[in-house]
């Protein structure tokens, strides 16, 4: 009996060890990526504005641009990316097991994910949160006027919980009408089963386009929850963590300095010391990360600054037309802020 018990103990601890070592997989992601020649980037299986294949079969979106920026920084070629589409459940496993180098898949930054999964969030690409869409004719202009409303919501999402919290906190009643998929939710809203449709504000715009008369509905200004979305890397590889983190910071800094993919070549001649440092004319800030001096130049030239990426994928130049809101730079009333390059 005793012997058997010991054997089992040994077996299980061996298995636990095996699993444990895996999370430390591929300690030097940069070397592996350089050797492979392509960046393996985990994206969604289709999310409007964030990652979806276009008519030509190329991946496009705000999350995809993060992958392209990292590839531009590492290889000087934003096309050297292999996109691996992951669903919500397998995304963390794929990162932990080394199947992807970066996970850029509208993942909300939470304590649990940051501390217990052996992962690190490198920044915030989009400050998301739950919003409401409502029929214009109801004349409601704020979420605080929604007492007693019937609300269409997708089941199994955190949205359901957050909406309930919000209504309880404000002492209001609501009648949840739950659907399985986003298409059904839109259908329910359109058929008049509910007065209000709720979802992440990044997706409300996409849902609104699918209505037969989009102009009849408005999106209320309130955002009732915090859903910061950002790229994720494995814990324990600080060099790689820095690269992904600063790729995004470079895009934000570029927007702040007014450098775009179009004027980046002219800006190379700029006298502004901040610009010179970012573009690698003054000092070599790429070296400390294991990159070349023109790492940020490559990102801006090939992918663009954060504002360009935002406008192209989810903002005013895209069909989604999501306002910058809190995703504007800190200098323009938003909260997007990147540390200086110095």
């Amino acid at each position: 009996m005793r012997d058997n018990k010991n054997k089992w103990l040994l077996l299980t601890s061996a298995a636990a060890l095996a699993v444990g070592t895996v999370s430390m997989a591929s300690a030097d992601t940069l070397d592996n990526t350089l050797e492979r020649g392509t960046l393996q980037c985990g994206v969604s299986d289709g999310l409007p504005g964030f990652s979806a294949p276009n008519d030509q079969g190329e991946w496009q979106g705000l999350d995809v641009d993060v992958c392209r920026a990292v590839a531009a920084a590492v290889f000087g070629d934003s096309e050297a990316v292999r996109y691996i589409s992951l669903n919500a459940v397998e995304r963390f496993t794929a990162l932990q097991s080394g199947e992807v180098d970066v996970l850029s898949r509208n993942t909300t930054w939470t304590t649990t994910r940051d501390t217990t999964l052996g992962l690190n969030f490198t920044g915030v690409t989009f400050y998301d949160g739950i919003g409401f869409m409502i029929n214009k004719d109801l004349g409601v202009s704020s979420a605080t006027e929604l007492d007693g409303a019937a609300i269409c919501v997708q089941s199994g999402t955190t949205t359901e919980l957050n909406v309930a919290d919000y209504f309880r906190a404000n002492g209001m009643e609501f009648d949840p009408i739950v659907f399985d998929t986003s298409e059904q939710t839109v259908g329910g809203y359109e058929a008049g089963r509910c007065d209000v449709l709720t979802s992440d504000s990044s997706q409300l715009a996409a849902l609104r386009i699918q209505l037969s008369d989009p102009d009849q509905s408005v999106i209320l200004p309130e955002i009732i929850s915090k859903e910061p979305l950002g790229p994720v890397v494995r814990q324990g590889d600080d060099k790689w963590f820095n690269i992904v983190k600063w790729s995004l910071f470079a895009m934000l800094n570029a927007e702040e300095m007014g450098i775009t993919s179009e004027n980046v070549d002219e800006m190379l001649e700029s006298d502004n010391p901040d610009v010179a440092r970012l573009l690698g004319r003054d000092g070599n800030y790429g070296e400390a990360m294991g990159l070349s001096a023109d790492w940020a130049y490559n990102i801006i030239k090939q992918v663009g600054n954060y504002g360009e990426s935002y406008d192209r994928n989810v903002g005013m130049d895209s069909p989604l037309q999501i306002e910058r809101g809190i995703n504007a730079l800190w200098t323009e009333g938003g909260i997007q802020y990147a540390p200086p390059i110095r």
Binding site: T21, L47, P53, L86, V89, S97, E99, E183, V314
Partner: protein, 366 residues
């Protein structure tokens, strides 16, 4: 009294029992109750068909390049039109599509050769289909040899991926299934118990679980740096799963062959494999055609489950296309297209199996 020694000439049937009118009367309006039901049926059909046809054809938009070309009163086939290349080839590089076309062209010719009874060299063609073709298909689709650029499997998708998965699953599952079925009927305890455990295990878990484990759990147990291609994981999962089902279909067929057949063959001094290969299996397989085709069709449709491990099969690529912000809101068109493609393939498989049954019908049919 006259006795006629000649047969009375056959006369045409009475006027009111032939022709379309008579058929209508006999089949649709044979009494007041039936007449009412017929009319009700026609009315329901009218309610259903008219809006469908209006949506799909009359009000539909066919030509254009963007969503602005669609009036949104009927179907917007512009969406399917713009994406058709992607729906069929996935994200396969556009310049390399000839390789996919060639592969499936060769496959179609080989299958047609085997299916049309008059053509000669059946044995050689069958051998080529089973041995040479898979190698050829691999080299053509995956590349990396003979100067063909490498096309990694994450670029495969659409109808092409669905067909590849289905064909690999069918070709893999049938022989494994036969071996398992024979093993389960065997007298040898180890072989028998292995087969029983294998079959019952794989039949006892849903395919979605198998794929999910292969994609979420397997990478955690593999040593560092080793990763198995997702497509290979799907191949293995689907093949093992379907072979268990196939084994039970085949065992059912084997049991329908009278014991005397095998005993007679044994009396002639035939070995086990000769008895099985020449006497039992040819008779059994013939009777199993409906069951086997049934399994194949369900396998073909089950391939859509690979969506959950991030492979873009036909349905997956349609869904991905639906999330392109330039084409939001055309889910109905996308799903109708996918359903239509699946129907074409499943229906042709079903027709071919019926033809095969008629052809091989030698008195077993009951």
């Amino acid at each position: 009294m006259t006795i006629q020694h000649k047969m009375i000439e056959a006369r045409p049937a009475p006027k009111n029992t032939v022709g379309p009118l008579a058929w209508l009367r006999a089949n649709l309006f044979s009494g007041p109750v039936n007449s009412v039901f017929t009319l009700l049926g026609f009315y329901l059909l009218y309610l259903l068909l008219v809006p469908t046809i209006e949506w799909a054809f009359i009000d539909a938009d066919w030509i254009g390049t963007s969503r602005d070309d669609c009036s949104r009163e009927g179907a917007c086939w512009v969406f399917v039109n713009a994406r058709i290349g992607q729906f069929i080839y996935g994200l396969y590089p556009r310049d390399e599509i000839w390789r996919v076309n060639l592969t499936f062209g060769v496959f179609a010719v080989l299958i047609a050769w085997l299916a049309i009874p008059r053509l000669p060299f059946k044995r050689w063609v069958a051998l080529a289909t089973l041995v040479v073709f898979p190698l050829l298909a691999f080299v053509l689709l995956y590349g990396g040899l003979f100067g063909l650029p490498l096309v990694q499997t994450h670029r495969w998708g659409g109808l092409m991926l669905t067909l590849v998965l289905a064909v690999v699953g069918m070709v893999g599952a049938l022989p494994i299934g036969i071996v398992l079925a024979l093993g389960r009927r065997s007298q040898m305890p180890i072989v028998k118990s292995f087969c029983v455990v294998f079959i019952e295990f794989w039949r006892g878990v849903p395919l979605i679980t198998v794929l999910f484990m292969a994609s979420v759990m397997l990478p955690l147990f593999l040593p560092t740096g080793v990763s198995v291609d997702r497509l290979i994981r799907a191949f293995i999962g689907i093949t093992l799963f379907q072979s268990a089902y196939m084994a039970e279909v085949i065992r059912g067929g084997l049991q329908a062959i009278p014991r005397g057949q095998e005993e007679a063959a044994a009396a002639l001094g035939m070995s086990y494999w000769l008895r099985m290969g020449l006497i039992v299996l040819p008779q059994a397989l013939k009777m199993m055609i409906p069951g086997i085709v049934n399994t194949f069709i369900s396998l073909f449709k089950d391939t859509t489950l690979v969506m959950i491990i991030g492979l873009f099969d036909l349905l997956g690529i349609v869904q991905a296309a639906l999330s392109d912000s330039r084409w939001l809101g055309f889910s109905l068109e996308g799903y109708v297209f996918a359903a239509f493609m699946f129907w074409i393939f499943c229906f042709s498989m079903s027709r071919y199996s019926q033809y095969l049954e008629r052809k091989l019908h030698t008195g077993h049919k009951r």
